[in-house]
Symmetry: C2
Subunit: 314 residues, 2 copies
């Protein structure tokens, strides 16, 4: 059975694991990442060599190393052009790691990697054409077509959070107005929750937040909507509408077999998924006479980064 | 050199041609289409057999027949599920034609075929990843990735005119509100032109329309904007903005190498293309730090249907 190493580079630590061709993690480790890009590469490079040894493997016995990394990546060269999270600019990651472990490398953006992982081994493993939206601080996107990641020219596509849904709407982090991210991210949900609380000082959301608006988070409105607080119900209804209309856009554009939702907000689970699926179904998944699109919650959880990165080599 | 037959089925007639592997039309014909789907298939089937004979070709000497057709097509079976233009429902086109000429058939929607034609032989032939928007009565779309048409599940994707740009905006023909088609189609442009004329009874657009608003067409605002009529300039500025914001959404989603504009409105040519390209360039093609996207006018003109259909077999 083929074996892969998957690496998930984050701002605070790097997680890596040995993954088999069924997407199972056979062993995993975490190292802290501190200091410059060079020192991270040095730490990681040595760690990977040691990790193979621990697992009794020679480098010829693995198919290679897949890496998911936040930021703008050029997949063809394995270069991290810019990563705000890591504070990296123009870091030749593949070239650096090859000096320690000379094997095949594939590098991609973390949102892409999450999508490929879910499409290959996770929620959407039955499907070949899958769109994933990662609903976190921002909204990340991944496109899997014919079981392969589609990244666009210079790996700069799949910015699915940065399509305008509300022309002239809320300011987005990208500089445009009205992007999907400006309505469907956790940041947007928190903004809208706070606004609703300021409009309705009797809302139960105040109790939930210990009467301090600074305690509001992405769960506040969902939690109190489940208890039928009218202001919270309205915030959640609007959120479901924004997200579902965004999903229906992607249904009309790609007509995928499945849309997978990941990121913090997808932790609302069945409640979120059922409501989004119903909204979309009632509206024919965007266009009458088209096939059903499965709306699924991501299933790979904390290991998504490792498993998805390994899937880059499958 | 390989040879293909391209067939362009329209509401009034069927155009077909012999196309070589450079996308040149070696011979072409038109037959009128009248009556039932069966009679159209009978006419076309016999015409194709005669056409091969006229050109001194045996069926083994062509790679097959590519067909572009308006409506909802299932490419896998060559079935026209529904075509409003043709008045067809569930017509097994490939099966029908095989009884006359037993060769390879590929059938796709006319907007897809136009996109493939431009990406293979036309404006974007240098590029592998191309998005096309056809700005006609509606807004059609085509997606070419890695030189291949991407059609989505059951060939029901690439409805690029039916992504919401203005949430809750103008009614769209599809039943949703605020779709790209509801702002960027010729119908939308005519609606906006008429509204502007009703607001400004001194506009030169009234003269251009012989003082009868029924004479307004997709060229009215562009023609008078070129003569600096303020109302017309505003209509065109808004149109450029709607179209460019839509294009930037597709740049962020696909990060294609090129976006091709076809359909009646693309007849505004360099004036339209230059303004859209400038709008997009000033805004980094949707996202800072991403590669330039070429904005191009379609070049295959009236033969696009035949050439694009032939490209289905390339």
């Amino acid at each position: 059975m083929k074996k892969y190493i998957g690496v998930d580079i984050g701002g605070m630590s790097v997680k890596y694991g040995l993954v088999n061709e069924n997407g199972n993690i056979l062993a995993k480790r975490t190292v802290k990442t501190e200091g410059t890009a060079d020192s991270v590469i040095d730490t990681l490079g040595k760690a990977l060599v040691a990790f193979l040894e621990e697992n009794g493997l020679k480098k010829e016995e693995i198919e290679g190393v897949g890496i998911g990394c936040p930021g703008a990546i050029t997949a063809a060269t394995g270069t991290v052009e810019y990563s705000n999270n890591l504070g990296w600019k123009n870091v030749k990651l593949t070239d650096g790691l090859k000096k320690y472990l000379d094997t095949e490398y594939k590098v991609s953006n973390d949102a892409n990697v999450a999508a490929l992982g879910e499409a290959t081994f996770g929620a959407a493993k039955e499907f070949s054409d899958v769109i994933m939206l990662t609903l976190g601080t921002g909204v990340g996107g991944g496109i899997v077509l014919g079981n392969k990641l589609y990244e666009g020219n210079e790996s700069k596509g799949a910015e699915l959070g940065h399509a305008v849904l509300v022309l002239g709407g809320e300011e987005c982090t990208c500089g445009r107005k009205g992007c999907i991210e400006a309505y469907c991210s956790a940041s947007a949900l928190i903004r809208d929750t706070k606004r609703a609380m300021l409009r309705d000082t009797d809302s139960k959301m105040w109790d939930y937040a210990n009467n301090d608006i600074h305690n509001v988070n992405g769960r506040t409105a969902f939690a109190m909507a489940r208890e039928n607080d009218p202001a919270a119900v309205q915030v959640v209804n609007d959120y479901i509408m924004y997200l579902s209309e965004s999903i229906m856009n992607y249904c009309n554009i790609f007509r995928p077999q499945a849309v997978v939702l990941g990121g913090g907000i997808s932790g609302e689970g069945k409640y979120l998924i059922d409501r989004v699926a119903q909204y979309c179904k009632e509206r024919h998944y965007g266009y009458q006479g088209t096939p059903e699109v499965k709306i699924l919650a991501a299933t790979l959880g904390n290991d998504a980064g490792i498993i998805g990165a390994a899937a880059l080599l499958v």
